[in-house]
């Protein structure tokens, strides 16, 4: 067998990482994504008790989280391989539900702040054309960042995650680093 070297979406063997002022950007290479879709009229499934939230929302459960991507459609995130397998089985047995594995299709960058929510809010002001309540903690939405279709998840007051198509990993990393580095004076002032 050929020896293959696992690497992140940015071509680095370890998850890419950068710090700008109070903000730290880290590539999340462990994240597995499962897309769930239901037929119209089918109630939302609860795989392993995970709540699938309503429009624009993100919800955290035991070992997994989920966000809404469209009518009757959600994305489930987990970083535990065994749990992903159990979730897939649970979705397969839910009536009217279909799943597709999307883990390899996306790159995820986690943005955390060690100075409270202000630097994250300032970053969002520069990045997305959405009102603060649409990117409040517990919200997730698909939108445009620098003309790139991304999913923006506000995991907590001081924690943001951005998902972009994996082939655009370099563009996402560039735009996040540029934007974070330009706000360093404002964030530290």
């Amino acid at each position: 067998m050929t020896d293959l070297i696992p690497m992140g979406a940015l071509g680095t063997p370890d998850p890419a990482r950068a710090s700008h002022g109070a903000l730290t950007l880290t590539e999340n290479t462990a994240l597995m994504l499962i897309s769930v879709a239901t037929r119209p009229g089918t109630p939302a499934p609860h795989p392993l008790g995970l709540h699938l939230p309503g429009p624009g929302l993100w919800s955290q459960g035991q070992g997994a989280a989920a966000f809404w991507t469209g009518p009757g459609q959600w994305m489930i995130e987990t970083d535990v391989p065994d749990h992903a397998e159990r979730l897939r089985d649970a979705i397969r047995s839910a009536p009217g539900a279909r799943l597709t594995d999307q883990s390899d299709g996306w790159v995820c960058v986690e943005v955390t702040s060690d100075a409270g929510p202000a630097p994250i809010r300032a970053l969002l002001e520069r990045l997305v054309n959405l009102s603060p309540d649409q990117v409040a903690p517990g919200h997730a939405t698909r939108t445009l960042l620098h003309h790139l279709g991304c999913i923006v998840i506000r995991r907590a007051e001081d924690h943001l995650a951005v998902l972009a198509p994996r082939s655009a990993a370099g563009s996402l990393w560039h735009l996040l680093r540029e934007t974070a580095s330009r706000q360093v004076p404002a964030a530290t002032a």
Binding site: P40, G41, P55, G56, W68, T69, G70, P71, Q73, N129, L130, S131, Q134, T141, R142, T143, L144, G149
Partner: protein, 91 residues
Amino acid sequence: MLIPHPLLGLRDAQEFTYLGDAALLNRPDPAAGEAGFADYVYLRDNPAGVHRELWFHEQGDRSWLVVTRNTLTHEILGAELARDVKLGGTA
């Protein structure tokens, strides 16, 4: 321009693509014949004023909306899910 998405609230028009007259939802019966389909495919009203249009939330949840817009003032008077319009709100 902000479009009031019925599920996601006010969203930037940049996230949408525009298709045109919402009359496209009313596809004629296959038995309508060539004349009926020629009208459906080629003829559009071009009103100066209130117009119902199809917009696609391409960079969002990918739903089709029927947006009522005043073509003179660009005022948006409402937006509904095209699926609800087509299926009579039963979906």
